[in-house]
């Protein structure tokens, strides 16, 4: 019964935040924080009351919605969704905190969009009816579009539209695949259903099955993003305001990975199995290509954006390696990337807010005037390069370990990403924080520092004792693992 509220609370909070706009920015932010905190409490309440059922499902909610089309309101929570929803809400709260001073105009509408995006993302992680999933998948795009288009930087309109077009293009292919799957899996039109459990195991064979699988894969690969469908990402991430970049990198990309884990692979096990080498090759290509481009950028946000391409390459590699090691690595990589890259965007965003530039040629030597900001940036960059002891290492190592078992060649080439990541992460550190002081501004405030502390603490926790996450996500991954392992 609680599950719809998990989606509705942010949506209502967003509307309320907009409504209290006249009362000033603090009221708006307070409402937004409160809504997310309530949502977080709700999640924890659901979790604490849940009795793990078969397959690791902790909670379930099903109501008819449009019976004539076979579409229902079906939400379900398992360990995988739970982990990702927790990440969503925590990052959401941090994003509200990080944009405390950055956003000055239309504060209410900004938080409306932010909370609606978060609500859509939570919904995506819960939806078990494929049409509902698609609906929520699209829903989160619209407020995100506004976040980029209204509060973004110089080239925001183009970036926002590009982001929308790419995601929507992939999404429509997925819609076609969803509908076709529902149509083909039903014995008769009257029995057509888009429920996850009704469709699982009903993938058609032959060319049709392949095309449908590709429909799903493309949608998620755009969102992930997988090379060569990634080109929306650098623009969107670069132009978005800080909170937008944090949500984009930290959460929106994860919906792609979640989609692959929850839908693309389990719905089409045989095709995914055969497709695995291609997907893994794309993952490896993403690791190296994203890293190489990250290194070459002169725009700090763009650099961080490309690192996402590289990091999510590991995710793709791991998903299609498809054994427990790799999948647990994928989950960890998602969480750690959410924190580390989200944090880096906050750092770069703070730099931009203070110095009004992201141009690495005009930055440098920030350590002298902003040691706290720089130290935070350094730690996050280290996480990004996969330093053992921080979460990203656990994720990447497990992915590599799992993919080594599946395909040693891909794992070995993917491991070169460890070298590439050092190159770009240290380039970022050097060109921003080190070198002769070219610019100076006020250091992090206490609030910002607290946000960073949460991020770093999370990364250290994931890096040194990730077991709780693994225990939580394990049962859900059990259902995925082995369905497509080569």
């Amino acid at each position: 019964m609680m599950l719809p509220w998990l989606i509705l609370v942010p949506l209502m909070g967003g509307a309320l935040a907009w409504a209290v706009q006249r009362a000033g920015g603090t009221a708006v932010r307070g409402v937004a924080l409160a809504a997310l905190a309530v949502d977080l409490a709700l999640v924890l309440a659901v979790w604490s009351k849940a009795l793990p059922a078969a397959g690791g499902w902790l909670a379930d909610f099903a109501r008819p919605w449009i019976p004539s089309l076979g579409i229902g309101l079906h939400l379900g929570l398992d360990g995988l969704s739970l982990v990702l929803i927790l990440l969503t809400l925590v990052l959401g709260i941090l994003a509200v905190g990080a944009s405390w001073t950055e956003i000055g105009d239309r504060v209410g509408f900004f938080h409306f969009n932010l909370l609606w995006t978060l609500g859509g993302i939570v919904g995506v992680f819960l939806a078990l009816d494929l049409v509902l999933f698609f609906l929520l998948w699209e829903l989160m795009l619209v407020p995100m579009f506004f976040l980029i288009a209204l509060w973004g930087h110089e080239d925001r309109m183009r970036a926002a539209i590009k982001f929308f077009l790419f995601t929507q293009g992939g999404g429509l292919l997925m819609l076609v695949a969803i509908l076709a799957l529902g149509v083909l899996a039903a014995p008769s039109a009257g029995l057509r259903r888009f429920d996850y459990f009704a469709l699982i195991g009903h993938a058609p064979g032959g060319v049709t099955g392949w095309l449908l699988m590709l429909g799903f894969f493309l949608a998620f690969a755009v969102k992930l993003p997988a090379v060569p469908l990634h080109t929306w990402l650098p623009d969107a991430h670069t132009e978005a305001p800080t909170a937008g970049s944090v949500v984009l990198a930290g959460l929106l990309l994860k919906t792609g990975a979640y989609g692959l884990l929850r839908f693309a692979v389990p719905l089409f096990p045989a095709q995914s199995h055969a497709f695995a080498p291609v997907a893994m090759a794309l993952g490896v290509a993403g690791i190296l290509y994203g890293g190489m481009l990250a290194f070459a950028q002169d725009d700090a946000k763009r650099l961080v954006a490309y690192t996402s391409v590289s990091h999510l390459g590991f995710v793709l590699l791991g998903i299609y390696a498809d054994n427990r090691l790799a999948l647990q690595g994928v989950v960890m990589q998602m969480l750690a990337h959410g924190l580390s890259t989200g944090g880096l965007f906050m750092v770069v965003g703070a730099v931009q807010e203070r110095l009004h530039t992201r141009d690495l040629d005009r930055l440098g030597g920030l350590w002298a005037s902003m040691p706290r900001l720089s130290a935070a940036g350094l730690v996050l960059a280290l996480a990004s390069l996969g330093l053992p002891g921080l979460g990203n290492f656990v994720g990447e190592f497990l992915v590599l370990l799992g993919s080594w078992a599946a395909a040693p060649a891909f794992a070995a080439i993917g491991a070169l990403g460890l070298v590439v990541s050092v190159v770009y992460a240290l380039t970022l550190v050097q060109r921003t924080f080190h070198g002769p002081a070219r610019a100076a501004a006020a250091d992090f405030s206490f609030g910002h520092l607290a946000v960073m502390a949460v991020m770093v603490a999370g990364l250290v926790w994931f890096g040194l004792y990730p077991q709780p996450v693994f225990d939580l996500a394990g049962p859900s991954l059990g259902a995925v693992a082995g369905t497509a392992a080569p």
Partner: protein
Amino acid sequence: MGVLAALIPVLPLLGFLMLFLAGARLGARGIAVVGVGSVGIAAGMALGLTAWFLASPVPVEVSAWTWMTVDGFAPRIGFRLDALSLIMVLVVTVIGVLIHLYSAEFMAGDEGYARYFASMNLFVAAMLVLVLAADLLLLYLGWEGVGLCSYLLIGFWYRDPANGRAARKAFIVTRIGDTAFAIGLLLLFTHLDTTDIQALMGRAQGQWPAGAPLAVAAAALLLGGAIGKSAQLPLQTWLPDAMAGPTPVSALIHAATMVTAGIYLIARTHALFDLAPAVRDAVGAIGAATLVLAAFSALSQTDLKRILAYSTISQIGYMVLALGVGAWASAIFHLMTHAFFKALLFLAAGVVIQRLHEEHDIFRMGGLRQRLPLVFWAFLIGASSLAALPLVTAGFYSKDLILWRAWSAGPFGRALWAAGILGTFLTGLYIFRAVFVVFLGPVRTPPRGGIGPAVAVPLVVLSVLALIGGFVETPDFFGGVPALTDFLAPVFPGPPPPGDPGGEAAASIFAALVALAGVFAAYVAYCRRPAMVATILRHPAAEAMRRCWAAGWGFDWLYDRLLVRPLVATARAGRADVIDAGFDALAAFCRQSHAMLSRWQTGQVRWYAAWIGAGTILTVAISVLA
């Protein structure tokens, strides 16, 4: 008692956390107390642990917690204290505390004082984790941790971009080796189902016959990690540049401890290398080649720290050579003595450089014997030990053992031995070149300031160690105390080498003579007839040779042309993301289509009617033809 072993790394870690989080509020004195104190307590505990271990030499293991458990992959946060790790812990903590003490004075007044001690403490913690780790993955954590600290400290003076470049170079080049190490880990776990080092070695010996391809691959990959960290061919290029960091850093990280982690890794996993003879031979060859090439480079440097840097590469080459002939204990022995005398040399050099206003060029130094007597004696002792002057220095015993073991390892060993002998001559030559030029002759730059106790004490203690540290293991013809070998025997089991006291004595005498010849040559060339070198160098071929050596045999040049520039150029050229051009083309196609279709909307009614007519005909045609 074993808990103590686990606690040793925790102390510097706590020191790091205090300095990192509250460094600014502690004040200079507080920073020094925390920084030095944390390592000092760790050193004290290490000494206590040694006493206890000597009483009952049984390895202990402590598990803090299981890092993660996924599908059989269950690395532990666990520590193992045995003879090998104990020696390493001692080296790290004792030399560590001395260098921390030295730094308290040496770095005083630097704006990054807290940052410096934080990084140093973190380094010590990571290094202790590295040597104490019972699990290969935890070892990897320490391994990367020390790499990080090395990066942070090389680039400590971050305002100069050159320092940043050197720091990144160090991290990136070692990371290449680390990646090999990581892949080795993947391979080992995948085939042996554990990452616990003891279990891993046991299973490797149980499952793989000698020369098994998997064993060879695993050993080769681990070797990759080791040569990266220990600056051996072909990944040695980062170490000379790493001298950009503060000198105590060079002493601790880039001479005494971190760079020898590769030696430790191979020694720790020696069972694997025993299964891969080909890789072991490669190890020996790499060591021999590195020691000779680096010695030539050391000979042609003018920067005091770079001389020492190349010397470090060369000396680690000796250790690697020892590993290559299976003389595990002698490698560790040399690791230990090298830590003493090389740290000593760096600390002394640090004082020299600081007193001469950051002057690095030895030819602008001179006559410092009278001005800085303590430093002179310390440097001289260090140099003697490095040059392996017979009987009175620690370096003599360790190096001699390596050469003897190489000699007795068959024909391939003899070749390695020859390289070692050549190296011995060169070592004496290059280090005494530095001694004579810097401390004798006329005063070229007057030194300023004196030496406080915090600098003096480490110099004295290390001088003593550099002299007497070799007596833990003396050859048969000179006392015959195999204390270290015996101590390490449980870690490195195997038959004792065939005793041949006569041969060993002869070899020792020969090596000693060669070393002395090197020193004499330096004396001739740089004290008696300084013009001689200049005369030789006037020959273009000699000058070209000198330049080649000075530039580290052109490895940097080669890598720059072969790898760095093409990769950077490719990356910069493709910066705008060529793939995006494809999507741009699609968009352009849509725009073109729009333009074309728009042009057809002429607004002329007859044209529209014509289209309706044409459409009708088309419709008819399709329906009739379909």
